[in-house]
Each structure stands twice: as C-alpha cells, then as structure tokens.
Amino acid sequence: MEQARTLAAEFMARLAGEPFDPRLMAAMIGNWGHTGWLGLRYHGHGADWMELALPWRDELVGDAQSGVLASGPIVSMMDMVTSMAINQKLGRNAQLVTIDLRVDYTRAAQPHRTVIGRGECYKLTRSIGFVRGVAYDESLDDPLAHVAGSFMIVDGVAA
C-alpha cells in the first residue's frame, strides 16, 4: 500500500505539466485508489472531450433489490472524466480542483450494464475550466444523467 502510494505520487509528479495522454492517464487512474477500485477504463477521447467506462459490479449497487448502480460511482466517474476533458483541451496535465459538480438523473440506469461517462470542457479561462457531460449505458442520445461543473486550474494563471 505504502509502496503503491509512493509510486503513484512519483508517477503523477513526473506527469505534472507534461502533454496530456488520455490513455496513459486512464490506465493510471484505473489502477490506483478510488478510481481503481471503481474499475474505470478508457473508452474514447476527442479534442475537448473524454470518455471513461464504469463496468457494472455487484459491490457498486445502490439498491440491492433492483441491482441498479449507486449514484456515488457515477458521480465519481463524471468528476474524473470532466476533469480529464479539461486536461485534454489544455493539452497538458494541469493541477485541477473540483469547485462544484451538479448531476441530474434523467432516468434509471439499467441493472448489470456498463455505464459510459462523457465529459466535455466547453470553456476555459486562465484559472477556471467549465464542463458538462452525460452518463449513458446504451446510446449517447439517451443519457441516464447530465452533469455540469467547474474546476479551478491551480497552475493555470501563470501558464
């Protein structure tokens, strides 16, 4: 545990400020800490967006009767994937802090389905990244949740 933490810290320190590699970062977060426990995986990316996948698992269920995923793992994924979209748009590994994140649940998730999270950075200022995104399990056109949020770009002002 202590060794894994040291390695993760060193890995992140080396990447700080370097060009953003969506697959490398997804592999990192998918093998470390909370996001590793959730099992988040790379699913896709574009110029200002990023997608992660959250595979269904019975440990992540919020309602044992229906087998539907809890809200928490979806919020975690959306927080991570929207922050990665900012890095993607910036083109570097910036130091980001979540200011706020709002999630609207537009329908129930399907039991036993992998949920995909898509985050998009629609506006960057020198110190703030504004994001939106959706979570879906079958089609991007039929999201189960919409999100909107903002992040502080801690190392953004001088850059």
């Binding site: 545990m1 894994a4 933490r5 040291t6 993760a8 810290a9 992140m12 470390w32 800490g33 909370h34 996001t35 590793g36 426990w37 959730l38 019975d58 440990e59 992540l60 269920v61 919020g62 309602d63 044992a64 009767q65 995923l69 809890a70 809200s71 928490g72 793992p73 919020v75 975690s76 994924m77 927080d79 991570m80 802090v97 979540t98 200011i99 706020d100 994140l101 709002r102 999630v103 609207d104 649940y105 129930a108």
Partner: protein, 135 residues
C-alpha cells in the same frame, strides 16, 4: 434505496464496500463515517472527491429515511432527481464524517442537504444538496 429502514442501518452494497458505517445517531439523524483505505484515496495522500460525494449522498439519503421513518408507517421508494456537490477543502486520509438535514419533506418531494468534515466539525470539507422523489 427502499424498504422499511429507520436510517443508518443496513446501508446499500456500495456504501458497505466503500467502508461507510453508521457512527452515531445525533438528534434522530444518522451521522455516517468512512475510514481511510485505498478504496477512497485519490491524489496520493488525499481523500478522493468522488468517494466524498458518495459519502455525502448516502448521508443525505439516510437523513431523508430517518425523517420519513418518523412520519410514515411504510417507507416510500426514494429516488435522487439531482445532486450538487461543492468542495471546500482537501480531505486528508483520516476518518471522515457526514450528516444530512432535511430542509423540507412533502409527500412527493424532499429537499435535503449534507455536510462532511474531518477532525474539526467547524471546518467543512464538502457539502451537497439533493432533491429526491418519494414514492
């Protein structure tokens, strides 16, 4: 997210797997706690924001259950409509607490908030508000 529970006991699989437990009941409202583990760690050495959001949401929902448990014979199904999370401070890898407050609960809708803190209750690290549909 349903069933005849007074709040705080028998948390959902996700909450149990994450290590969320009932710390105590305070003025009839469950105070939940989560001890540090690799499952809640984010940036090395810090509590992950998403895990914190999970703890806060659970505290908010448990507050609604406790409120309904006092007023209703049978608990209705509780479904989150939306949630908004604000992060105020970094969370350290120490026992973290969260409790909710039902601002208003009617027959079909409840508005609830929840706050999270670590050693010092006066220094909140994150909060949520949630709107939930009842029945």
């Amino acid at each position: 997210m349903n069933g005849p529970r007074a709040g705080g006991e028998d948390l959902p699989p996700y909450a149990r797997a994450l290590g969320i437990v009932l710390d105590r009941i305070e003025h009839g409202v469950p105070v939940l706690a989560c001890d540090p583990s690799s499952r809640i760690e984010g940036r090395p050495g810090f509590f992950q924001g998403g895990a914190l959001a999970g703890l806060l949401e659970m505290a908010a929902l448990e507050a609604v259950r406790a409120d309904l448990g006092r007023r209703e014979a049978a608990l209705p199904v509780i479904k989150p409509i939306n949630v908004s999370i604000q992060f105020m401070r970094n969370g350290d890898l120490v026992r973290t607490f969260a409790t909710g407050r039902v601002v208003r609960a009617g027959r079909r809708l409840a508005n609830v908030t929840a706050e999270a803190w670590q050693e010092d209750r006066g220094r909140l690290i994150a909060s949520v508000w949630m709107n939930v549909k009842l029945g």
